[in-house]
């Protein structure tokens, strides 16, 4: 983990409400694993005060770059998205545990189930799985409200053997929720493991479907963060069974679905 000032080499709008930033930060690019995130300072003022966690979407170790996909939902993400190429961003990272890789013996399909901007860490995972590929196929399922809400879908599609899209309004792919695509896939046998990232209700549904199908499921969670490094205990989510809590920033953001008390997670 390091704190570095990193230069934006390029930035471009993506879909209805996202921005892709490429940042020069060789040390973080070299160290980051899929599913890890950076904690980003979005202003030099005391307002907004706290850093914002953003997943690394891709790390190019040769070029010393990382790529972030930022959805503009509030002041912090809007400020980030507005920064011009050449601007400097203060990053803390890489943070979090990242996705565990499938073991060498895994065979069958590896399913990546993404909702909206949740696609970001799964692009990185798919990219890494490409190089580690053994006896499994990588299959991507991506859902969004409309074709305008499927940011960087080609980045995921290009790294999967199989790829399906669903939109709620039917403007791209199947009309419906991504969980319906997942249902179809689980109905056939052969799913080895599911990795998911997206809105909580979507991930809760994915977790439940995987539990029913007895397929291991890894979910990448979000929670509002203070420190990002495990020190403040601010970012917890309820653990399954009992009244303990897990830190999203340090114990996660990736959890085995059965670690979490999904019913208590709320929105």
């Amino acid at each position: 983990m390091e704190q570095v000032k990193s230069r934006i080499t390029t930035t471009h709008a993506e879909g209805a409400d996202c921005q892709v930033l490429i940042l020069a930060c060789p040390s973080i690019a070299a160290a980051t694993q899929p599913g890890q995130f950076v904690h980003v300072r979005v202003s030099e003022s005391a307002d907004p005060l706290l850093r914002r966690p953003i997943s690394v979407m891709l790390a190019d170790r040769q070029a010393g770059h990382i790529r972030l996909l930022v959805r503009k939902v509030g002041r912090g993400t809007e400020a980030l998205a507005r920064l011009p190429a050449g601007a400097t961003v203060d990053l803390l990272g890489p943070l979090g545990n990242g996705f565990p890789f499938p073991s060498a013996e895994t065979s069958g399909d590896i399913l990546l189930v993404a909702g909206g901007v949740g696609v970001a860490p799964l692009v990185f995972l798919a990219d890494t799985l490409q190089t580690h590929r053994a006896r499994f196929r990588v299959c991507g399922l991506l859902g969004g409200a409309s074709d305008e809400h499927l940011p960087v879908w080609t980045e995921l599609a290009g790294r999967c053997e199989e790829f399906h899209v669903s939109t709620e309004d039917g403007s791209a792919g199947e009309q419906g929720l991504v969980t319906e695509l997942l249902g179809e896939h689980l109905a056939q046998d052969g799913t080895a493991v599911v990795y998911t990232c997206g809105p909580r209700p979507m991930m809760a549904a994915v977790a439940q479907m995987c539990a029913e199908a007895r397929v291991p499921c890894w979910a990448s969670l979000e929670q509002w963060m203070g420190c990002g490094v495990g020190a403040c205990l601010g970012c917890v989510v309820p653990a399954a069974g009992g009244d303990d809590f897990l830190r999203v920033c340090k114990d996660g953001p990736v959890f085995a679905a059965e670690q979490l008390a999904w019913e208590a997670l709320g929105q």
Binding site: L50, W224, L233, G234, V237
Partner: protein
């Protein structure tokens, strides 16, 4: 001008600190979380999270909300209990090169006493900080911090069972902080920490519910600095004869100097560490630079200097 290195060392509660800068309890975990980014031995002291007798799971999330120039937290004293703290959390700090201060909390005086006794047996602990001011649990200490009587009772009881230097951390959520400070001093505290967080809340206007799982939380960060400086000023003006550790919204050496000039012998950095993990280091360097620039040979010369006309 000679470039003499200024003397930043101070004494708090009988401990000599290399410099007057330490993290604030609860914002620095168990001391190791930030070790990649900050050399612990460069700190005046390491201050760890509140420790209670039994393990506490803490409050339901969300536990954190950002507010203008500040944040609300309602962690709820999550900690593994004093036994685990002594066995697992403190040993890694044995050779950290700075005194280790443990913040203690409880629901009853007996809780505090038991925690203080257990911690007294740990060779790693240099001092105890009584948290009489946590706003985030129904019975997490703040009730002791609001009236001089109960506070004095608590401090005396802990004083009776420990020979460790004793710091008492006060709540700012009071009409007049001076009688509380005086009560703690008369009951035997060696130093005072001020301030803990201000009680606040925020409401989600879409859901029409409080944003925090715990409804209310503690406000920290730059937003509260003027209140914190004022309380340090008031307690310093009362001349109680114990050193003060000032905190509340310190982001820079200049902010730390406000507290020192108001009468704090040392300062603690909380929320700022989340924003800039090496704030402590920056503050230490900035204090040294201020001293050099202004011909101050020892930082102790300027403690409370703003009271002198």
């Amino acid at each position: 001008m000679s470039a003499t290195v200024p003397d930043l060392s101070v004494e708090i509660a009988g401990l000599t600190l290399r410099n007057p800068v330490m993290p604030a309890s609860g914002t620095f975990g168990w001391g190791t979380e930030y070790a990649d980014l900050l050399e612990l031995s460069s700190l005046g002291a390491v201050v760890v999270k509140a420790t209670t007798l039994l393990p506490r799971p803490g409050n339901a999330p969300p536990r954190i909300v950002e507010t203008p120039a500040g944040m609300l937290n309602a962690i709820g004293l999550q900690n593994p209990g004093v036994d685990v703290v002594v066995r697992e959390k403190l040993p890694p700090l044995a050779d950290c090169g700075a005194p280790v201060i443990v913040n203690i909390a409880g629901e009853t005086v007996d809780d505090y006493v038991a925690v203080a006794k257990r911690l007294g047996a740990s060779p790693v602990v240099s001092a105890l900080e009584i948290n009489a001011s946590c706003p985030n649990t129904e019975r997490g200490g703040m009730q002791f911090g609001l009236e001089p009587g109960p506070l004095a009772e608590l401090v005396s009881a802990v004083r009776a069972v420990t020979s460790l230097p004793l710091i008492t951390k006060l709540s700012p959520n009071v009409t007049d902080i001076v009688p509380l400070a005086r009560a703690a001093v008369e009951a035997g505290t060696d130093a005072l920490s001020l301030i803990n967080t201000l009680l606040g809340m925020a409401i989600d206007t879409d859901r029409r519910r409080p944003k925090l799982g715990n409804v209310t939380g503690g406000l920290s960060g730059p937003a509260i600095r003027p209140v914190a400086v004022r309380m340090v000023w008031q307690v310093a003006a009362a001349g109680l004869g114990v050193p003060l550790i000032g905190m509340g919204g310190i982001m820079s050496a200049n902010d730390a100097l406000e507290f020192i000039l108001a009468g704090a012998t040392a300062v603690a950095i909380g929320t700022a560490t989340f924003v800039t993990p090496d704030t402590c280091r920056q503050v230490i360097e900035g204090l040294a630079a201020y001293c050099v620039r202004n011909g101050v040979r020892s930082i102790r010369e300027i403690v409370g200097a703003a009271h002198r006309p």
